[in-house]
Amino acid sequence: MQAYFSLIGFGPQGWGAQLAWATLMTLSVSVAAFATGTVFGVAGAWAKLSGGPVLRGLADAYTTVLRGIPDLLVIYLFYFGGSALLTRLGTLMGHDGFLGLNGFVVGMLAIGVVSGAYQTEVMRAAYLAIPRGEIEAARAVGMGRALMLRRIVAPRGLRIALPGLGNVWQQVLKESALISVTGMVELLRQIHIAAGSTRLPFDFYATGAALFLLLTTITSLLFRGAERRTQRHERAR
């Protein structure tokens, strides 16, 4: 037991510092990907709800495709495809040789567009779940479109969407482990390295699983807290 703690601790033999840094990387790439997804989600939901037939069709294709293919494939497409494009572009500009994309950027974009597809559906459903009467009431007091969006639709919709967004976040956090295939040193990659160099794969992968569990648990508590705060008005007095 003591051997295990010195292994993952911060001592001279320990991997603690690397693991802490890698955990931070996992968190930051997840936050970046989720935020990217929110941009796509807002755009997608808007297109589905109030776009014309072309925009609606595009948004439908976007959510169908991105939810129908493996995330790993999306990451490969962005990583290898992006690098191929970049290299071709580089040759045109007179740069010789391979140009690779940064793993963080790839992960942020790839997981971002996937999570955007799910966020699109969550936000669309949330908008549709706002009681029509409340929107009519806003119209009745003379609110314009923008004001209504800002004062009524956005806050009301966000409250309804929070549980769904919480699920998407958990998904993003877990999918971020796939970015390790690009070689970017996030939590799983660091675990992989440590497991290989110490020849203690079980200890390290179990530690990795535990750290991910810690992250998902803490952040889900944060989401739950946010839900409770924003839904105070729903509770019976």
């Binding site: 497409l77 203690l200 794969p201």
Partner: protein, 229 residues
């Protein structure tokens, strides 16, 4: 556009479809049986419920890829495992992938079935009890048929997710669809065309599966269909 290359790529990718489907089918079958057991265990006793909750928490809260690595690389660390009769299975990437996928989907599946069980109307159960049904008959004739029908749509989504998850098996050297795509890319350096082709195949598989589940739903739940009175 290089049609000859695209055609050849599609053919090579198509030859990997059976591997992907087999991974999905075997792990979903094992996972479903396990999920049913877990859901019933969860409903049976306080201790059983606590164990199942812990299981679900661990497998839903950590990445599938970590679970695959833990089984594929991690278990071999122990002599006891390497000397056991299971080692011929556990040293093979194929069985490790199946095991991880099945354990993972069982966690999600048990929650889906639990939702189905919770949605069985209390009145339907009471009607079974007053008819003199034993616990076993009640479960077999009333509770499980109603719960599984209720759970079917959500379980359909879980199957789609599992088809997508089989792509992770490529990371431990299995040449299913995604693994084959990677091989073609490393031979041809034409990433975009190849991965787009692979994506189209996944979409087609999932489209067919979605339709199949919908059809199953229709045949199993004629009572839910709106019929004009």
């Amino acid at each position: 556009m290089d049609l000859a290359f695209l055609g050849e790529t599609l053919l090579r990718l198509a030859s990997a479809i059976p591997t992907t489907l087999e991974l999905a089918f075997v792990s979903v079958s094992i996972g479903l049986a396990l999920a049913l057991l877990l859901a019933l265990l969860r409903a049976s006793s306080v201790i059983g419920a606590a164990c199942v909750r812990a299981y679900v928490f661990v497998f839903r809260g950590s990445p599938l890829l970590v679970q695959i690595f833990l089984i594929y690389y991690g278990l071999g660390q122990f002599d006891a495992v390497r000397e056991s009769f299971l080692w011929p299975f556990l040293r093979r990437p194929w069985w490790c992938a199946i095991l991880a996928l099945a354990l993972n989907t069982a966690a999600y599946g048990s929650e889906i079935i639990r939702g189905g069980l919770a949605a069985v109307p209390a009145g339907s159960i009471e009607a079974g009890r007053v008819a003199g049904m034993s616990r076993f008959t009640l479960y077999r004739r009333i509770v499980l048929p109603l719960a599984l029908r209720q759970a079917l749509p959500a379980y359909g989504s879980e199957i789609i997710i599992m088809v997508k998850s089989t792509s992770l098996a490529s990371i431990i050297t299995i040449t299913e669809l995604t693994g084959t795509a990677r091989q073609i890319v490393s031979d041809s350096f034409r990433a975009i065309e190849v991965f787009v082709c692979a994506g189209l195949i996944y979409l087609a598989i999932n489209f067919v599966l979605t339709r199949a589940v919908l059809l199953l739903e229709r045949t199993l739940t004629p009572h839910a269909r709106g019929v004009p009175r």
